[in-house]
Symmetry: C2
Subunit: 340 residues, 2 copies
């Protein structure tokens, strides 16, 4: 091993810290609960302690490219300040990057967690053979990230890629962002549980109600189990997930005409329950998808691929590790290469 | 004048051909009706005849950078083939660029008309001080174009920027693209006329019905006149236009976090009738817009600007003229500059 990074995935529930080599090997991973309620300074101290222990351990094993940290929220990429984070309210407008750099005396790259996940899938996962892709992360919320030319597309201030707040139902369920009917309200794990509860309360889902009286815990996973066991109400819920994804992905196919759209995050493991309705909707919503669908053939036909992520819950960790490597590679690249 | 281009804007109703110098001066413009019904070969002959006459006239005045042609439809940018064009049905799958190059023995750049309009606004209009913007063209349909790094963003095959087919009402009015409730069904000139007719037929728009019995011709422009004269039903129609734009632009602000979104095309002249509801909706639909709105201040605050286009109906013509200039500049640029 010659070069490695230390990556941090600061989730709402878990804090995960890993050392990753530049050939994509996970050297070590530490996982602790994120005790958000103990406040920002506590979490930062815990994080920097763990980073220091890994830095010390791998000190002689290779050269440290840097530290990449994926955090949920809207990040101003130039200043390294979290502009807003629903899961980390007391971190807003705090110069996180500067503070961690000061504590560790090392270069730190701060990145939105879903952007980091997109980079992880691009580096080692579903997108490893493309330089242009968008990724949807279906977790507690729905995150997104866009990769163009092999790099995270940041937009003006680092906030690009918020694909979870695409409106799929203008008058739909209220969203934490202040809007209504965002994709996140139909395709996140949280939304799946809410839609199940709503179905039971409506009285129109006797199959779910029967099970609700039993001891089944309603998580997106248990509803998925019911869906693949042909419970119609559970299937209907995943059809709504698929439909919402089809509308949102279709809009991005129309806007960006990228070769690949990757669906990841915990709830993406229910792929076979939502994918059929997603593809059905996608063909309706996007003429470009229709013109470039994998079943279209032609001499020089380029295809739009919509596929499941491959890196599981570690996508963000690998992506965060990749960032310092690209930053240092970028410097030497710039010196020798020419503009496209 | 040292360098000039010949630009073509092949619309559904007009064929416009112009010579434009590289400092953005219109040297001459020819306008004829597009006699689409006379078939592809007729239109191509008319176009190439006009181009030849301009080439001859300006032969000694400067160096011809090339010919840029904006056409409506989905264009495969590498092959120069129109994959599909609702307004030019017999042009589909025809190698237009190759044919015109053969007839003129000159390099031709074929581009989607809305992409060309975006380039025109970027070069000389609302976007002249930015390198990253998206443009919506509200005409018979709603076209779109995305400029990144000063160049048209094409995506995988040249079809990127179809912002008019963003779903704003999942169960809404059927669209020619095969979907329902596309932006185009609420914000095009065609849609404004349709919504006016629907309002009259519903019996809930007595003010419009009264006028309908008179001799007012219902165009998007006459409905606009009624709206600014405070006719509530006409105002309501433009509020729907604004709302649809707010949802669609909001989604793109969330996805791309660009500094500028430009609203152009004929129907954009009704800006003051639809802009208030557009901005209202935009603030609801996009947290990023809220975080970067022009009324937010801060030491390094970057703003999202949503604004009206400045180049009128000539945007596409100027943009098409710009393309051959950029292509030849790109070659010399590539030789000296380094990757960012």
């Amino acid at each position: 091993m010659s070069v490695y990074s230390i990556a941090v995935d600061l989730g709402g529930t878990n804090l995960r810290i890993a050392a990753v080599s530049d050939d994509g090997k996970l050297l070590e991973k530490l996982t602790t609960g994120t005790e958000v309620q103990k406040g920002r300074d506590f979490v930062i101290r815990e994080m920097t302690d763990a980073i220091r222990s890994l830095m010390l351990k791998y000190r002689t094993a290779g050269e440290l490219a840097g530290i990449g940290i994926g955090v949920p929220g809207f990040i101003d990429i130039e200043t390294g300040i979290i502009a807003r984070s629903p899961n980390l309210p007391d971190w807003a407008n705090f110069p996180v990057r500067e503070e961690i750099e000061r504590l560790l005396q090392t270069k730190v790259i701060l990145e939105n967690d879903a952007n980091a996940a997109a980079m992880g899938e691009k580096w080692l996962g579903a997108g490893r053979n493309t330089d242009d892709m968008a990724m949807y992360t279906l977790g507690t919320g729905v995150g997104g990230g866009i990769i163009l030319g092999g790099r995270i597309f940041h937009g003006m201030s680092g906030m690009a890629g918020e694909l979870g707040h695409y409106t799929v139902e203008p008058e739909g369920h209220p969203c934490g962002c202040g809007s209504h009917g965002c994709l996140e309200q139909y395709a996140s794990a949280t939304a799946i549980v809410r839609m199940t509860r709503e179905a039971i309360e409506s009285g129109n889902a006797p199959d779910l109600s029967d099970l609700a009286r039993g001891n089944v815990e309603f998580t997106s996973r248990s509803v998925y189990q019911l869906a693949i066991q042909n419970h119609p109400s559970a299937q209907k819920i995943y059809q709504r997930v698929g439909r919402a994804l089809g509308i949102a992905v279709g809009g991005m196919v129309n806007a960006l005409n990228l070769p690949m759209y990757v669906i990841g995050g915990g709830a993406s493991s229910a792929w076979d329950a939502f994918a059929p309705s997603m593809f059905e909707e996608l063909k309706v919503r996007s003429l470009i998808y229709g013109l470039t669908a994998p079943d279209r053939t032609g001499p020089e036909q380029k295809h739009t691929t919509v596929t499941i992520a491959l890196m599981g819950s570690d996508a963000g960790l690998y992506g965060a590790a990749r960032l310092p490597m690209l930053a240092s590679a970028g410097q030497s690249e710039a010196a020798r290469s020419t503009a496209r």
